[in-house]
Amino acid sequence: MADPADFRQLLIAAIPALRAFSMSLTARSASADDLVQETLMKAWQHQSSFEPGTNLRAWLFTILRNEFYSQLRKRKRETEDEDGLLSSRLATAAEQEGHVELAELRLALSKLPDDQRDAILLVGASGFTYEEAAEICGVAVGTIKSRVNRARAKLSALLQLDEAAGRVASNDEPRPPLLGGTEPDA
């Protein structure tokens, strides 16, 4: 078990990444930070089960993700099994995003199945290896790889990147607008 003061410092260092993941899952800043708070409290309570030297970030992300889905399941039961609760919330957050490029991405992410979104967020956004993401989601590495691949394929179709990729291959060429003509100043 780590020294409490050391453990506290490690948790503080992990907060920015936890908030970013939480925000991309919940799409609401208030509930995202509540989820981070819940995660920190759980981590503190269970610090004796954390082995110093092992991957604290993966451990914390596992706690956060489990907490998120157990809350979501509870809420779904309370709102009579409303399917697509999360997707609609993510889509709303996309509409409120001030940044055009990020709004597009949020909207595209909202259209992915939950498991694929988790996989691409962990590997593509949070920077985990496939092995770590598999551990966090409690599935085989191969499963994560295929989820990431499917998520990438869907995202690139939704964002129409296949076409764009070829054209921005050389950095000097002007970027084609990804949204109908509203190219933001870069």
Binding site: P16, L40, E101, A125, G127, T129, S156, A165
Partner: protein
């Protein structure tokens, strides 16, 4: 052990990005996802979390002290 001296996290995405010279769809998606992530991760840590952890640590220390009797 020195937790701060640990090597930075290995990132699968970064490795992939360096592997290919051309900027493909994967790289575009990776760059967008990183941007989404960084948008939040680069914000300062809200004070409420620092305070929360400080309180938790003090509470534990208080309980430890009570358990062993308050002998200084």
């Amino acid at each position: 052990m020195n937790p701060k001296g640990r090597p930075p996290h290995r990132m699968a995405g970064h490795k992939e990005r360096n592997a290919g010279a051309k900027l493909g769809t994967h790289d575009l998606i990776a760059a967008k996802l990183r941007k989404l992530f960084d948008e939040v991760a680069q914000q300062p840590i809200p004070e409420r979390f620092v305070e929360l952890l400080h309180e938790l640590e003090e509470k534990d220390a208080g309980q430890e002290a009570a358990k062993h009797g308050k002998s200084d």
